[in-house]
């Protein structure tokens, strides 16, 4: 069989594309494996009872997987913040959905922000369920957000607020969860505050154009 020059060119182009995709895939897979490894190591180092370790780890793994699912559904364009928030809070507060309020405009978080944002929302929700406003029978949490600016100077500001929970106190040593909340989202300014009836957190993050 003879291949025409055009066939050969097309075949080469498609082989090249395949190689590029494989290389990109390898990079992503190895990176995500390293992230899972880091989560495992950090989780194992934390000072929680042994029987809770697996639960913590699996929660974080699910958070990662959830964000990934949204990215795949969008063909890696980004994750809608409302869907991400519903998913991450829903996973933790599935028994008490009426005590969780999520409100904000539709906004597409780019992939490099969406995954850590998902992990941060997971930590916030887990903390609320363990020690905060979702740990008693009366409290509630609100996550709302808005954007400011336009074009290449847009930013997102998300407010997290727990209310009606038990008195919260800043714990002494900063744990992995808190460090994760403070630093995981690239470029974000994060403020955590402890009020008598609940914990509050604001996250401000610059958005690339077209989010």
């Amino acid at each position: 069989m003879l291949e025409s020059t055009r066939d050969v060119t097309a075949r080469r182009a498609s082989e090249q594309r395949e190689r590029r995709l494989m290389s990109e895939l390898t990079h992503r897979v190895r990176n995500i494996l390293a992230v899972i490894q880091a989560i495992a190591r950090h989780t194992l180092r934390t000072d929680v009872p042994k029987e809770q370790l697996l639960d913590r780890f699996e929660g974080r793994l699910s958070a990662l997987a959830g964000a990934h699912t949204l990215l795949v559904q969008s063909e890696w364009a980004g994750a809608d913040l409302r869907e991400l928030a519903r998913q991450q809070l829903g996973a933790v507060a599935s028994d008490t959905p009426e005590r969780v309020r999520i409100e904000g405009e539709a906004i597409l978080l780019p992939p490099d922000i969406a995954t850590p944002f998902g992990l941060v929302l997971h930590e916030l929700a887990t903390n609320a369920a363990k020690h905060g406003a979702l740990s008693n029978s009366a409290g509630n949490v609100t996550a709302d957000w808005m954007t400011a600016g336009r074009n290449n100077d847009r930013s997102l500001k998300l407010n997290w607020r727990g209310a009606g929970g038990p008195a919260v106190r800043k714990s002494g040593a900063q744990g992995f969860g808190s460090t994760l909340i403070d630093t995981a989202i690239p470029g974000a300014q994060v403020k955590r505050e402890f009020f008598p009836d609940g914990f509050a957190c604001t996250i401000e993050v610059p958005l690339p154009e077209g989010s």
């Binding site: 494996l33 390293a34 992230v35 190591r41 950090h42 690239p186």
Partner: protein, 141 residues
């Protein structure tokens, strides 16, 4: 008490001043913890190329650990800065096969993500001049 390999690892990088550039916060925290656990002094943790280039200009960095893809950028400017000052570095990357971003440094050590803590520590230790952990006193400036 435990005096076997773990305590040896704990001193392998005793007092060694290390710079780390990695855009993922979790991996950065992890690298920092691993290096400090091996006795290193982590003198900079950078998440952007711009911060990395600035940090790389400091005197007395003994070694650096560099991720290759930093957001939408590559680590090349940081690696060049370090190379021009004679500071040794190792790449820690998920891109193991001939990444064009680091083609200039084909002979440099690459540690593939994810790596065991001991692998990262010994890769950094392997960058140091034999017989001591002190940064070179009269290296190129």
């Amino acid at each position: 008490m435990n005096t076997s390999p773990s305590s040896r690892a704990a001193s392998l990088l005793q007092g060694v001043r290390v710079l780390v550039v990695e855009d993922d916060a979790l991996l950065l925290m992890e690298l920092e913890t691993i290096l400090i656990g091996a006795g290193a002094e982590v003198i900079g943790v950078c998440r952007t190329v711009a911060d990395g280039v600035t940090a790389a200009q400091q005197d007395g960095i003994a070694a650096a650990v560099l991720d290759v893809r930093i957001g939408r950028d590559t680590i090349a400017p940081v690696a060049r800065q370090l190379a021009s000052r004679g500071t040794p570095f190792v790449f820690y990357t998920g891109q193991v096969d001939n990444d064009p971003a680091i083609a200039e440094w084909r002979d440099h050590a690459i540690v593939a993500k994810p790596a065991k803590a001991a692998t990262i520590v010994s890769a950094v230790a392997g960058l140091l001049p034999p017989g001591g952990c002190e940064p070179p006193k009269n290296g190129p400036r």
